[in-house]
Subunit: 483 residues, 2 copies
Amino acid sequence: MEVKDIEEEKGKDLERAKWYTDIVQQAELADYAPVKGCMVIRPYGYALWENVQKALDQMIKDTGHQNAYFPLFIPESFMQKEKEHVEGFAPECAVVTHGGGKKLEEPLIVRPTSETIINHMFAKWVQSWRDLPLLINQWANVVRWEMRTRLFLRTTEFLWQEGHTAHASEDEAEEEAQKMLAVYKTLAEDWLALPVLTGEKTDNERFRGAVRTYCIEALMRDGKALQAGTSHFLGQNFAKAFDIKFQSAGGDLEYAWQTSWGVSTRLIGAIVLGHGDEKGLVLPPKIAPIQVVIVPIYKTDDEKAQVTKYCEQIVLALKDHARVHADMRDQYTPGWKFNHWEQKGVPIRLNIGPKDVANNVVEIVRRDNFEKMRGVKQTDLANEIPKLLLAVQKNIFERALKFRQESTVKINDYKAFKKTLDEKNGFIEASWCGSGDCEQTVKEDSKATIRLIPFGNDRTPMNDKCVHCGKPAKWQVVFARAY
Amino acid sequence: MEVKDIEEEKGKDLERAKWYTDIVQQAELADYAPVKGCMVIRPYGYALWENVQKALDQMIKDTGHQNAYFPLFIPESFMQKEKEHVEGFAPECAVVTHGGGKKLEEPLIVRPTSETIINHMFAKWVQSWRDLPLLINQWANVVRWEMRTRLFLRTTEFLWQEGHTAHASEDEAEEEAQKMLAVYKTLAEDWLALPVLTGEKTDNERFRGAVRTYCIEALMRDGKALQAGTSHFLGQNFAKAFDIKFQSAGGDLEYAWQTSWGVSTRLIGAIVLGHGDEKGLVLPPKIAPIQVVIVPIYKTDDEKAQVTKYCEQIVLALKDHARVHADMRDQYTPGWKFNHWEQKGVPIRLNIGPKDVANNVVEIVRRDNFEKMRGVKQTDLANEIPKLLLAVQKNIFERALKFRQESTVKINDYKAFKKTLDEKNGFIEASWCGSGDCEQTVKEDSKATIRLIPFGNDRTPMNDKCVHCGKPAKWQVVFARAY
């Protein structure tokens, strides 16, 4: 019954996969659920998700969107209204056939995404150009029946937000899709400390039902890419399928232009894989559930009393400046606690022993680089800790950016392309013919996919020929093996 | 396909039911979904829910609980492990039989409540007394296949929080169940401005699987009761069914003692029915999405320019002191806006016309009692508005409390009991024999149920005989017709 990890990997990949699932469980982010492909998000993992949510929810509201909630169940007939959409999602659906002890007249789909039911409602609410733009977001659980699953990265049920908007003009919808992509980039870079590339998906990788899919792509520390968020320009596809029409200012009846966009609990997996090291998690301070952990060190009862009192003072002094936790448990040694909190990725640790108490100082240890600062004055902490948290945040972002830069290569030759993938993975910038068949062949042969077509001038091919088939190049794209 | 309202009501009840569903839709709190018994929570309703959530989530965390997330799907076999529990919930379950295009080996239940799956995980996590207490909360959607539904009050899918805890001793679990009941009382009274009675449910009304169910009961303005939250002392029922055992400090292997507790989006219905009047919603300021609405009044373009500028100044002056919104829409008249925002229950309205601009004042109108304050100085607003919001909050609580006091009667005689119900409903305090059959007969005959058995001395019967059957009285209880 238990979720099975993706089993394709061999060698290094397998090692990395084991490291990942071990650390997710040992750090108590998540646990396997007794239902195939599902997970339990444990309190430490959920607190991390709540911090991500809080940051993103504020940005979603600041850009004029309102939260709402739509039903979990979608009538089967709704799913079939947009042809591409149903083809994309039908194989992944969980279906409710019985309710209240009876067989249902029409089966209900457990939402894999909510375009169909939300646009059914939009059709009811949108009458005039005055009702537009309609800017809605929903925080919800969704279900996609995945064959191969992995905690956070790909689970049958996951948590996400899905934005759905309707606009009076094509330009405005396009602007919206780009705006939300920019919000996702800010979330990834400024909060999760994960540098991301932005661009457009190829037709093969496009959201089923969208005209264009934009994405943010991050590079994990093993050189594999991870799609961290998508924003779709839907054109009038769903508006036509669900009859979302409005009277324009000029009096004409027109179909609305739409977008949808989402990020999910997958981001927690990105944080683990994007920053983690052999000791465990390395959490970005801005979203870490605990930013500062205090570990007391003592031998005698007398020392314990002194140190405990001092730790309490420090918690009081810091609690308005950082999310601080003192691990006063008696049954574990300081060494055990050091490992424990390193594994959990807490950005800053304060070690406090009798000498520190005597001198009114603390020892600070950074999780990101294990730098130690001895003899920091207690009175300086309220001032120093917030600065140090910012420094850690900055450092792990810059480290990830440097790693990505070093892991990005321009390649013209398919042999070199495959060699690079096998040796170190990373992002490969290459010219491509634009053919979906060629793209598919590369995928089957090398396991690399086109992560994105960059925006603007960056998509102009640097070579005349496609890196794989040698036909005339259409675009410069970014290839990688991906999670 | 659309949700059908409860159809039993006649006369006044039917009128009230229509008032309710009209106002919920007209105030844009919710809309009917295209799936039987489901609703769409619209942005205004969801913002109200978010404010309720925020207040409660903080209290849940302040009392030492941590949020987590457990799967939507529960294996059918899990539901069957606690005998009473499955009997209670099986008839209401939605069942997933197919996933990923195939028939499932074991059907999955869409959670109606999560005791079974959460306690399966607790069994894995709890080994020693050191792992206790385990204090978990989850914000989630749940599904119960209801025959008769009504927006917010009873829907097939609803949103709620469900707390689940495990303790080393019976006393500690009992204390926890009572503590969370007190939290719910605080939420209802201090935030929702709804006075509530607290007490214990009878065996007939007890949560299936619990030893004791505690509840908060509010009285709606039509004299009907509404169960607004429940907290269950589960004893060792689920611990035994799911094998949650721990090694005690003394070294013995013992079953854990447990609680569970929840409130749901039903609270939104309670706010509507508990405070609303013929003009629409009356929202408690503390949780109102908009606390102050500004309506500009002008005729000429020149006046419009002046008033608009002045309104903008007032928004700026108030925005750090209240959730303020200026309705600057051109297509609606001031009169239309007055009705619109009264219907939406915004606690305070500022009317601003050219004379107000000239005199640097505003006109304030309270939603709760329509009291008008003319000529309030603009410079006093930042100081006065927060005070006024508190006054509105206090007034609607006291009004509801007074109404409940006036609607509560002690009755010894079954004829008078029925007469009171037919004439005005309300809470009826009466003595009861303690028999579930007698209780059931009263329910069938009068539609009144025992809402609760009060705590402590308040449950000592005031009369020798049961109000219905005349047998020796066991407890003093509170009867009412209920939503």
